[in-house]
């Protein structure tokens, strides 16, 4: 297993002109990147805007990406710089910190307004989380341990194999079966899947 081989194979395809491969990279990292950007901005909508800008910058800079570092490390740096620049330009903007007529700071109000634009997004997020948590609780012990060690602790298959005292192939199978069980529940609830990536395909 080559470290970063998965991302690198997608990156190489994008560099050869395959835009669909970039969709896969965005789908994989969008939540991680938004979470990262939220260290700099509290507003989820603003964090999504910055993450989007970081992805676009990364796409345009991909011809210069040589694979010396992992793709996510490279993307991470772009996102951090984009977030810092966004914070600086926002701080320079007098509108953001203006005091409104009633003497209340408009910054938080603006944030709430942005959030209120998509209340369904919050409902969807809560719903997905509860479905996933319920599905994990319903998993057999070995599958639950494997998926939690992978997703929550970030262990490699080899480390999970050592922790669970089983072959790496068994870990791979357990994680796959755990994902399939959770995914099945998601598709049942959302009638055939979340139905969003199809739009990108």
């Amino acid at each position: 297993m080559g470290a970063d081989a998965s991302d690198l194979s997608l990156v190489r395809r994008v560099q050869r002109g395959d835009k669909g491969a970039f969709d896969a990279l965005v789908l994989k990292y969008q939540h991680k990147l938004v979470k990262l950007v939220m260290r700099y901005v509290r507003n989820p909508a603003e964090a999504e805007d910055i993450a989007q800008e970081a992805f676009i910058k990364a796409y345009r800079a991909l011809p210069q990406f040589r694979g010396d570092s992992a793709f996510y490390t490279w993307l991470y740096r772009i996102a951090i710089n984009t977030a810092k620049n966004a914070v600086v330009s926002r701080d320079r903007s007098p509108i953001e910190y203006n005091i409104d007529r009633n003497g209340e700071e408009s910054y938080d109000m603006q944030g709430r307004m942005k959030d209120s634009e998509t209340p369904e997004a919050l409902v969807l997020t809560d719903e997905i989380r509860s479905i996933v948590n319920a599905a994990i609780d319903a998993l057999p012990e070995d599958l639950r341990t494997a998926i939690v060690l992978r997703e929550l602790e970030g262990l490699s298959y080899e480390e999970i194999a050592a922790a669970m005292d089983c072959p790496v192939g068994t870990v791979r199978s357990r994680i796959f079966r755990a994902r399939e069980a959770i995914d099945r529940r998601l598709r049942e609830v959302f009638e055939g899947g979340l139905g969003r990536a199809e739009e990108l395909g």
């Binding site: 297993m1 395809r13 896969a24 997905i128 989380r129 796959f176 959770i182 990536a197 199809e198």
Partner: protein, 214 residues
Amino acid sequence: MNEELDSQLSAMFDDELAAAECELLARRLSRDGELKARWERYAVIAAAIRAERGVRLNARVARRVSVIVGSEPALAGQSTPRRIAGRWLRPAAGLGLAAGVAAVSILWLRAQAPPGAVVATPPLAAVPAARVTAPAVAPAASPRASGPDSYVLPPAARGAAAVVPATELANYVVAHSMFSSPVARRNLLSAFMSSEPGDAGTIPVSTDAKSNAR
């Protein structure tokens, strides 16, 4: 959906799939909407398990990025030439330019000297440009009569003090060796040494010059 394929996709998502298999699956993933939807759900499951606070599990970012990227030109053909240009053309052009300037300077300096005269070049850094560009020819009978601006040795001193320009030029080339290639440098140095008689690195003083100094 093929279970083996899905299992590979799960391993690829975790970066635990062999590189050769990744290549094949990446190709399919970029084109297969169903596979891409599964890939997205794997990402959603991962984010939900990590319970990332404040992160909304929607595809807003991915959707908007996809639209913008869709309107941009494809990257094919942009990477290799730009990379090669960045890595090789710039230093090569710099080397070529430096070598060219050095060669032209040497040829020009030599061309300035009158036929049969030997140009005694002081260290370049210490010489004002006007002196270099306007060398004066000293009268043969009185070598010092031309004053300090003269860089032409009298014919009487020529035989013994002929190595000064070669030495100075050699010093110049060595001091600026970072701007020339080893082969070009070696050729220049050997050309200097072979074109001038005497010991390199020394400035012999003729008996005539010594007597003049007294």
